[in-house]
Every structure is written in structure tokens, then in C-alpha cells.
């Protein structure tokens, strides 16, 4: 059965979410989705670019950490910004996958890069679940 990205709008809570399979081919879809939400929230272009980068890094980081289940990206519209929560689960028994060639040569890991963009970024990992949260705000 073909895996598809699904999205849902919860109008009462102003939260929009998308769920993708843990497949790198779908990370671009998340960026497109985040940009659309940012445009709706009238975020500035540079902040939108930062948001796209951060969600892309978050999804890639979840996949490299061994998350094999779905990855849910929820964007909650708040005054002046967007609260982001990236939830992934179902760790691979053998653990995470190595990053792409050269990734160890980049001075920052993905979470450090997200924190450089959005300093309140926090990552929690429990039994089979990983959650990353940050707020995109000027």
C-alpha cells in the first residue's frame, strides 16, 4: 500500500499537522507544508526560510536516529510566531543510521543547527519516541 503524507487542520486550536513516512523522499513535502503555513501566518521571508531549514533538519535527524515509523510535524499558530513539534517513533532495533558522507565534517550537528536558528529548541527521547519542539518567532 502506497504510503502518503496526510494533513489535518484543527481550526479550533489553530494547529496544522502533516504526517510522513520515515523516508527521505518526503522531507521536501514537509518543507513545502511549513512554507505554506508560514505564508498563512504572514511570517517574514527570512523566518520562513529558517523554519523550512529547521523542519527539514528535524525530520532528517529523526530518520538518522533510527526512527522508522511515521514522523508527525505539527505547526501551531501563536501570536507572532509558530510553535513546532516534530514527533517520531518506532526505533530501528539496530539503532540509528550513519549520516550522509561528510556529515561528521560539518561543525554542527542537526540539533545544534536548529538551536542556532531557534534557541528554545528542545529534544526529548523516550521509549521508542522522539519529540523535538521549537518556536519560530522573530
Amino acid at each position: 500500500m502506497e504510503q502518503r503524507a496526510t494533513d489535518r487542520i484543527d481550526a479550533a486550536a489553530s494547529t496544522v499537522s502533516i504526517t510522513i513516512p520515515a523516508d527521505p523522499a518526503h522531507v521536501g513535502t514537509v518543507r513545502f507544508f511549513a512554507a505554506a503555513v508560514a505564508r498563512h501566518a504572514r511570517l517574514e521571508e527570512e523566518l520562513t526560510d529558517d523554519l523550512r531549514l529547521a523542519v527539514s533538519e528535524a525530520c532528517a535527524e529523526a530518520m538518522e536516529a533510527g526512527m522508522t515509523g511515521s514522523i508527525r510535524v505539527a505547526l501551531s499558530l501563536e501570536p507572532g510566531g509558530i510553535a513546532v513539534e516534530v514527533t517520531s517513533g518506532s526505533t530501528r532495533p539496530e539503532g540509528g543510521a550513519p549520516g550522509p558522507e561528510g556529515s561528521e565534517l560539518v561543525p554542527m550537528n542537526r540539533l545544534q543547527l536548529i538551536r542556532a536558528l531557534f534557541p528554545d529548541a528542545e529534544s526529548d527521547q523516550g521509549r521508542g519516541t522522539k519529540v523535538l519542539r521549537f518556536t519560530a518567532r522573530p
Binding site: G28, D49, R52, L53, G99, N109
Partner: protein, 112 residues
């Protein structure tokens, strides 16, 4: 979503033109293109990122690996990009100080 990659020679340099978004999914294509150039004996490489609309740390890793490979062969790998998201992510990671960067391919190859 695929990258569009093109290569040509200019003033003794191999110029790799990249168009699209470079992420976890597409960065292997960029890696393979750089690898092909070095295996063909090219060790002076310019990567034109002016038409790259997005790059994350997956892409940065590929670029750094390419730089390392070129330097191991006594060569160089330079980047060309304008102001925007590419410049910002290189600046945030400090990699703008690692690469030779130019504003145009002509400047990078010494043609202008």
C-alpha cells in the same frame, strides 16, 4: 524531487551547476556528481549554487567531503552563491570560512 546538475569546463576548472533543493534525499546525487569529477581527474572544481533554493546539513556534508577530496589531490573546491538561504546556512555553521567563495563563476575560475 531531483536535482538538476550540469557540468562544463571553464579556464581549467570544472564547473558543476546545481539547481533545486539539496537535502537528505537529493544530496547523494550531488555527492555522486562531485565524485565523478574527481575520478575523472578534475581537482579544481567550482560548484555553482546560485540556483539552489535550499540546502541543509546533508548538502553541507557533501560539499565538505568534496573539498576534502579535492585538497587531498592537491586541488581546490570553490563555491559560488549569492545572498540568501545558502549564504545563511554556510554562515551559521562557520563553513563560509572554510570554503573559497566567490560571487560568480567567472571570479572563481579567474576568467573575470
Amino acid at each position: 524531487m531531483d536535482l538538476v546538475l550540469g557540468s562544463r569546463s571553464e579556464n581549467g576548472w570544472a564547473v558543476l551547476e546545481v539547481q533545486g533543493e539539496v537535502d537528505l534525499y537529493t544530496s547523494p546525487q550531488l555527492r555522486d556528481a562531485i565524485l565523478r569529477l574527481t575520478e575523472e581527474g578534475e581537482n579544481r572544481i567550482v560548484i555553482d549554487l546560485n540556483n539552489v533554493s535550499f540546502i541543509d546539513s546533508s548538502g553541507l556534508g557533501v560539499l565538505v567531503a568534496g573539498l576534502k577530496r579535492a585538497r587531498e589531490r592537491g586541488g581546490e573546491l570553490a563555491l559560488v552563491f549569492g545572498e540568501g538561504s545558502v549564504q545563511k546556512v554556510l554562515s551559521i555553521t562557520g563553513l563560509d570560512k572554510v570554503f573559497s567563495t566567490q560571487g560568480s563563476v567567472g571570479e572563481a575560475t579567474g576568467r573575470t
